[in-house]
C-alpha cells in the first residue's frame, strides 16, 4: 500500500503531465548509419540490454512493452521504427531518455528495439 499511496500520488502528477506531451515529429528520412543486423544482437549489445533495457522491459515496469511479447510491441512498431528511436532518445511517457543506456549509440538502440520486439 505504500507503493499504492506514494506512487499513486506521483503518478497523478506525471500522468497529467503526459497529457501535455506532444508526440515528436517523425523524420522523413532513414537514419544515416550502418546497416542494422537482424537477429540476436552481439554480446556487447546484449550486455547493454541486460544492464539497462532489462530493468523495465522484462517485467513491464511502468507499462513498458515486455521483451519478446509481440502483442505489446505491434502497436508501437506500427508507428515506425524511427518513431521508436526518437522516443527512446527523448524519453516517452514513463521511459527515461536513452532508456538508462548511457553508452548506447544510435545503431545499438535500433538493434535493441528489434531484438525486444521480435523476441525469441
Amino acid at each position: 500500500m505504500r507503493r499504492l499511496l506514494v506512487i499513486g500520488l506521483i503518478g497523478l502528477a506525471a500522468s497529467c503531465g503526459g497529457c501535455s506531451e506532444r508526440a515528436p515529429e517523425v523524420a522523413s528520412e532513414a537514419p544515416a548509419s550502418r546497416p542494422v543486423t537482424a537477429g540476436t544482437p552481439d554480446a556487447g549489445v546484449m550486455a547493454k540490454w541486460a544492464r539497462s533495457c532489462a530493468l523495465c522491459h522484462v517485467n513491464g515496469e511502468g507499462g513498458a512493452p515486455r521483451s519478446g511479447v509481440r502483442a505489446e510491441w505491434s502497436p508501437r512498431l506500427a508507428a515506425g521504427e524511427e518513431r521508436l528511436l526518437i522516443h527512446t532518445v527523448e524519453g516517452y511517457n514513463n521511459m527515461p531518455p536513452l532508456g538508462y543506456c548511457m553508452d548506447c549509440e544510435r545503431d545499438d538502440f535500433l538493434e535493441l528495439i528489434r531484438f525486444m520486439a521480435a523476441g525469441s
Partner: protein, 443 residues
C-alpha cells in the same frame, strides 16, 4: 555546455531529436541535455587509465543520469562506467563488500544476500549507480542512518591524469572523506567497498495523519522507528506517514492491484480539476478514507521503489532542529501563493557524518524535498521554496536542483576550500570540470 544552459528551463530541455541528428545525452527527467563529442565505456580499470593518460579533453563521468542538476553535461567525452560493475569481493568477517562503480543499487541486494550481507540503507529510487549515489551524497531515511556515502569504507579513484589512488579512512582519512561525496570532480571512482550488515527483513506500515500531529511527535517517532518519514500533501492538512522497522515476520508483500491503483489514480485526478486554493476539503476528505496498510519483505525490497513517473526535484537539508519550522513555512507558502502542485513533499531525518561535502556534515539534518512533474515548469514552485531553505541554513542535495554557487556553498561547508584545493591538486587542468562544476567551485 550549451547543454547546461538549457537546464533550468521547464520540462524536457533542448530541441526535439530527429533520427538523423547527433545523439544527445539527456538525464532521467529530461531537464538536462548535452551533445558529447564521444562516449567511452571502459571494460577495465586498466583501459580507463590508458584512455585518460592518452587524452586531454574534458571528461564527465555519468551513472544512471538521475541527477537533476547539470553534473554530467559536457561537450567533451562522457565516461560510462556500466561495464565496471558487479560484486567484486566480500569479507564475511567484516561484512564489507566491494562493488564496481557502475553497479546499479537495484543490482546489489540479491548478490549481497547470497554472501550473507545487506546494505544498511538504500534511497527511495534504486536505479542509480553506486558511484553516482555516493558521489552526490544520496541518502535514505533514518535518525540512526547515514547517507550511502557514510557506509563507504574504501574507494579507488583514477585521476584525470590516470593516476590510481586507493583511499580509506585508515590510509588517508582526509582525502577519503573528501572523495566520498565528490561530484566526480576529484577523479573517476572505479570501485567502492561498503560496510554492510547481516541480511534482515523490514515491516513497512503507512497511514494518513494530520501534518500538525505528525510533526508534534516527529522526534519521538523518528527515535522509535528505524525509518520514519512523512509525505505532506500540498493544499491539505494531511500527510502520508511511513514507519519501517526490523521484523522476523514472514514475507508478505503483495503488489497493489491494478484496479486499486486505477481507482486511487482516478480519485486523485479530481484534485487537478479544482483550483489549488479550493482543494483542501477534497484532499482532506480523501486522506481521511485512507486505511493503514503494511507489508513485510527483505530489506532491499522495502527500502526502494520503482519511480516510473518522471519529475524534477529540489531538496535541501536543514539542521534537524529547524526542520519542522522550515517545512511548515514551505507548506504555508505553497498554500498562500496557490502554487498548482499536487506532488507530495518529503520530510525525513538523516544522521550526521564527517564527509567534507556531505549535506549532513557536522550533525543530523532534516531533508525536505519538493517535486514537480517533468512535463511542467518547476520554477514557480522551486523559486518560491528555495529562499525558505536558505533562511534555515539549508544545504542543497548535489544531484537536485538548486541555484547556489561557490560563494554561498563556501559558507555552508567548513571544508569547502579544502575540497577546492584538493580538486585543483588532483585535476590541475580541470578536465573533469563542466560549467556547472565551475560555478559550484568558483573555478
Amino acid at each position: 555546455m550549451a547543454a547546461s544552459v538549457l537546464a533550468g528551463l521547464a520540462g524536457a530541455a533542448g530541441p526535439a531529436f530527429a533520427s538523423r541528428d547527433p545523439l544527445p545525452w539527456r538525464n532521467w527527467s529530461g531537464g538536462q541535455v548535452a551533445y558529447p563529442a564521444g562516449r567511452f565505456a571502459p571494460d577495465s580499470e586498466a583501459a580507463l587509465v590508458d584512455w585518460l593518460r592518452a587524452g586531454s579533453g574534458p571528461v564527465r563521468p555519468v551513472g544512471a543520469g538521475h541527477s537533476f542538476t547539470a553534473l554530467v553535461p559536457t561537450d567533451g567525452h562522457l565516461l560510462v562506467l556500466d561495464k565496471l560493475s558487479g560484486l567484486l569481493g566480500h569479507d564475511p568477517a567484516t561484512l564489507r563488500a566491494t562493488f564496481g562503480a557502475g553497479t546499479r543499487l537495484s543490482d546489489m541486494g540479491a548478490p549481497l544476500e547470497r554472501v550473507g550481507q545487506a546494505s544498511f540503507i538504500l534511497p527511495d529510487i534504486d536505479r542509480q549507480t553506486l558511484a553516482g549515489a555516493i558521489s552526490t551524497g544520496t541518502h535514505g531515511t533514518g535518525l540512526t542512518l547515514h547517507s550511502l556515502s557514510g557506509y563507504a569504507t574504501r574507494l579507488r579513484l583514477v585521476t584525470a591524469r590516470g593516476e590510481v589512488i586507493d583511499l580509506s579512512e585508515d590510509a588517508d582519512p582526509d582525502r577519503f572523506r573528501a572523495a566520498c561525496v565528490s561530484l566526480g570532480a576529484l577523479g573517476i571512482i572505479t570501485r567502492i567497498e561498503m560496510q554492510n550488515r547481516a541480511p534482515y527483513r523490514l515491516r513497512v506500515r503507512n497511514w494518513a495523519q494530520r501534518i500538525d500531529e505528525v510533526l508534534e511527535d516527529f522526534e519521538a517517532s523518528a527515535r522509535a522507528h528505524r525509518h520514519f518519514e512523512m509525505f505532506p500533501l500540498t493544499h491539505s492538512d494531511y500527510a502520508l506517514v511511513l514507519a519501517i522497522d526490523e521484523t522476523d515476520a514472514p514475507v508478505n508483500h503483495p503488489p497493489p492491484s491494478p484496479e486499486e491503483a486505477a481507482a486511487f489514480d482516478a480519485a486523485m485526478r479530481k484534485w487537478l480539476e479544482v483550483p489549488p486554493g479550493e482543494r483542501r476539503p477534497l484532499i482532506n476528505g480523501m486522506a481521511e478514507q485512507i486505511e493503514p496498510t503494511e507489508a513485510v519483505d527483505v530489506s532491499y525490497r522495502i527500502l526502494s521503489n520503482v519511480r516510473n513517473n518522471r519529475f524534477n526535484e529540489m531538496e535541501y537539508a536543514v539542521p534537524r532542529e529547524d526542520g519542522a519550522r522550515c517545512l511548515r513555512e514551505i507548506l504555508a507558502t505553497i498554500a498562500e501563493r496557490k502554487i498548482d502542485v499536487v506532488f507530495p513533499l518529503e520530510y525525513r531525518y538523516v544522521k550526521g557524518d564527517d564527509l567534507w561535502l556531505s549535506m549532513d556534515e557536522g550533525g543530523d539534518r532534516a531533508a525536505i524535498s519538493v517535486h514537480r512533474s517533468a512535463a511542467f515548469d518547476y520554477r514557480p514552485l522551486f523559486d518560491a521554496v528555495e529562499p525558505i531553505f536558505w533562511k534555515y541554513g539549508g544545504r542543497p542535495h548535489w544531484g537536485k536542483l538548486h541555484t547556489l554557487g561557490a560563494a554561498e556553498l563556501s559558507r555552508l561547508y567548513p571544508r569547502f576550500d579544502d575540497f577546492r584545493a584538493l580538486r585543483a591538486e588532483l585535476d590541475p587542468e580541470g578536465r573533469l570540470l563542466n560549467d556547472h562544476l565551475r560555478s559550484l567551485f568558483g573555478t
